[in-house]
């Protein structure tokens, strides 16, 4: 993975010094609330219901074992012993003290981590496929390009006070696992007719109150022009995006109101003006690709026969392998999902001791690297099949081997009313109730691939509008209600879910979910037809009839 050079390290050290000074001036009353709010947000600090929340950047989800151990020690020393993985591959702490945050940032800087631009109306963390570099359907490893984009975004002086936040995601695989169509800019590595690899650029996707799927602005861009093209889009947005209404301020609204053709004309004109002065040299790409060179795989890994034997002998192990591992491009290896969705744990939470243990497992089995995923789990990407059985046993002992990746209990969930000052309704408690209702793992496995996304308010941090089943918490006169949607997707066939009907009461949510699942089982034309395919084929009516039958 990318290793900081002296300049990178100096930059984040100087950022810590800068923020320490700003915090001291704020605590002395020398910076106003509104001004400090903007400054702290650009260092990842929200003021939440109970305490500040600190969001740390996980660049395209890639973390080293020393970084995990540092997160564990921060969880122990400054927080309540756990951390939370977000949908944008970042890491959150919910209980730090504001006056200690400069110290936390200094600790993070010691392991090449920071919280720069993880919030605020600026360029956010660049995200990518959590299986980058190891999956079987990839054109090229996208992470070198992510890192080049990340460096361009960090402390970009012109784009720190945008109309609204701005998110970029990169994908290089046939199956889009990075939700690129739902980002302000989606970057796809593609091959043109001449066989050259470049970028297809989407613009204007986004979730939140007005979910919109991104539109293609350029079908093919030469690699060397990536930064000039991004800069042109950002300049057009910075100058033209709406600033009169924060709910109309994202680039998706600009694209919708002005039309993609007009935005493209503005972007291309600006790009033609600046592109020659901003070419990324071939040498930069070569050096960056070298930073992400594949680890030294064991060439004899494919000769292993013990894995097949264990699969045949141990049903629990084979179920875990089926659900919690992914194919690897190197024979004899698999990528392993570390499930942070144990039934009795808040989705995406991981304790300090689990973080330490995963760091040890990464060192022992996976070249010292871990990835965080868009669906709030972790990945150990390079596991020899011969080692899977012992790894599974160790993960199981840590409660990190619930075999539910991609199933109905692999729920994306925001912190909800328990932590977030924006939330209208609880999400973690209802998720626990849903999990309690769905306690039959065989049934869960039979249901197959179902993505449930659950947000506690309209801001949609858990991407409910693109969940196969979306759950949205709403407040009605001080009471928590829940709006359900069906048929959303953030993958290749991106779609915004349709509203099932009126919002339902909190205690009705688990029953509504089981009703929806029963309708699916009754309606699917075969066991191969996925939930999403069934919803798309039969429509929402049968689900609606069942859920609202008794009302």
């Amino acid at each position: 993975m990318y290793q900081y050079n002296d300049n990178d390290q100096t930059l984040i050290n100087e950022r810590v010094t800068q923020f320490r000074g700003q915090t001291e001036r704020y605590l002395k009353g020398e910076i106003g609330e509104d001004e400090f709010r903007a400054l702290r947000l650009m260092n990842g600090i929200y003021i939440q219901t109970h305490a500040p929340m600190l969001r740390i950047a996980g660049p395209y989800g890639l973390l080293s074992s020393p970084q995990l151990r540092k997160l564990a020690s921060i969880a122990r020393d400054y927080d309540k012993g756990y951390a939370h993985i977000t949908t944008r591959q970042n890491i959150q702490f919910n209980w730090p003290k504001l006056e200690q945050i400069p110290d936390i940032l200094e600790e993070l800087a010691s392991v090449q981590m920071h919280a720069i631009q993880t919030s605020g109306n600026c360029l956010r963390n660049t995200t990518a496929d959590h299986l980058a570099g190891v999956c079987t359907d990839e054109l090229e490893d996208p992470r070198p390009y992510c890192e080049i984009i990340r460096q361009w975004t960090i402390l970009h002086p012109e784009f720190a006070y945008l109309p609204r936040k701005f998110k970029i995601a990169v994908s290089s695989s046939k199956q889009d696992r990075a939700a690129t169509q739902l980002h302000d800019i989606g970057v796809h590595l593609v091959k043109n007719d001449a066989g050259e690899i470049g970028f297809r650029i989407l613009v204007g996707g986004g979730l939140g109150r007005t979910p919109i799927i991104g539109t293609e602005i350029r079908p093919f861009l030469e690699k060397k022009h990536i930064l000039s093209y991004l800069e042109a889009i950002l300049r057009v947005y910075n100058l033209n995006g709406r600033r009169d209404n924060k709910y109309r301020a994202r680039i998706k609204i600009l694209v919708r109101e002005e039309g993609i053709d007009k935005i493209r004309d503005l972007v291309e004109a600006e790009w033609l003006r600046i592109k020659d002065g901003m070419e990324v040299p071939a040498e930069t790409f070569e050096n960056m690709i070298a930073q992400f060179a594949a680890p030294t795989y064991d060439e004899s890994a494919a000769n292993d026969t013990s894995f097949a034997e264990k699969l045949a002998d141990d049903v629990a192990f084979s179920k875990w392998v089926k659900h919690n591992t992914a194919e690897h491009r190197v024979a004899g290896y698999k990528a392993v999902f570390v499930s942070l969705k144990a039934p009795d744990c808040p989705p995406g939470d991981i304790t300090d001791s689990q973080l330490d243990a995963v760091a040890d497992l990464a060192d022992e089995y996976s070249f010292g690297e871990v990835r965080s995923t868009h669906r709030q789990n972790l990945v150990l990407a390079d596991i020899q099949e011969a080692k899977l059985y012992e790894l599974w046993q160790k993960l199981d002992a840590l409660k990190l081997a619930t075999p539910n990746i991609g199933t109905v209990t692999d729920i994306i969930c925001c912190p909800g009313l328990d932590f977030c000052s924006l939330a209208n309704a609880g999400s973690i408690d209802v998720t626990r109730e849903i999990n309690n209702t769905l306690d039959d793992m065989d049934y869960i496995h039979d249901l197959g691939d179902i993505k449930v996304n659950f947000s506690g308010c309209m801001n949609g941090c858990a991407h409910q509008s693109v969940g196969h089943i979306g759950i949205l918490g709403v407040d009605k006169k001080g009471v928590e209600w829940y709006q359900l949607t069906l048929g959303g997707s953030s993958e290749n066939e991106a779609a915004i879910g349709q509203r099932l009907g009126r919002a339902i009461a909190k205690n009705e949510v688990p029953k509504a979910i089981t009703d929806i699942l029963e309708v699916y089982v009754a309606q699917r034309d075969s066991e191969e037809e996925t939930f999403l395919a069934t919803v798309n084929r039969v429509g929402i009516s049968p689900f609606k009839e069942k859920v609202y039958a008794n009302h």
């Binding site: 784009f159 300049r235 003006r273």
Partner: protein, 150 residues
């Protein structure tokens, strides 16, 4: 009035002449609208002349005029309005404007560093304390990623 210019505290004697008011002597700035309407009269003015740009301005209209101007003021209506940052970039990179760009209005001294990196070289602030903070922040970072900015 004291301002920061090229990392030094200096005295500024420029005055802004509101639309409709008679031009006064000495170095003056006027609105973009007034500049466009009274360009020839302003170019004959005894003192130096500058333009004050509001955040919704189109800086490209100054393309023919940059050599006549010695000061462009970027007037920030609120520190959250980042359009002035792009205006500064366009003035420097697209119009090749060489004169002074001064940030004025409602912005934070903590923004001075980023402003300096997009081409702003002068800062007017609310008071001496803010000037001191702005001056100190100009050296916040010794390294940068973006090859395209200052």
């Amino acid at each position: 009035m004291q301002i920061i210019k090229d990392k030094q505290l200096v005295e500024s004697n420029w005055t802004y002449v509101a639309d409709g008011d008679a031009l006064n002597e000495g170095d003056i700035t006027v609105s973009l609208a007034r500049w466009n309407e009274e360009k020839s009269a302003l170019q004959a003015h005894q003192g130096k002349v500058g333009v004050r740009l509001e955040s919704d301005a189109d800086v490209n209209v100054l393309a023919e005029d940059v050599d006549s101007l010695t000061l462009v003021e970027l007037n920030f209506p609120a520190f959250t309005d980042g359009r002035g940052f792009s205006h500064a970039r366009l003035l420097r990179d697209e119009l090749n404007y060489q004169g002074e760009i001064r940030a004025i209005g409602s912005y934070m001294p903590d923004q001075a560093f980023y402003l300096s990196r997009v081409g702003v070289n002068a800062f007017a602030m609310k008071n001496a304390d803010e000037l001191a903070v702005a001056l100190s922040t100009l050296d916040d970072f010794s390294v940068k990623y973006q090859a395209s900015t200052l």
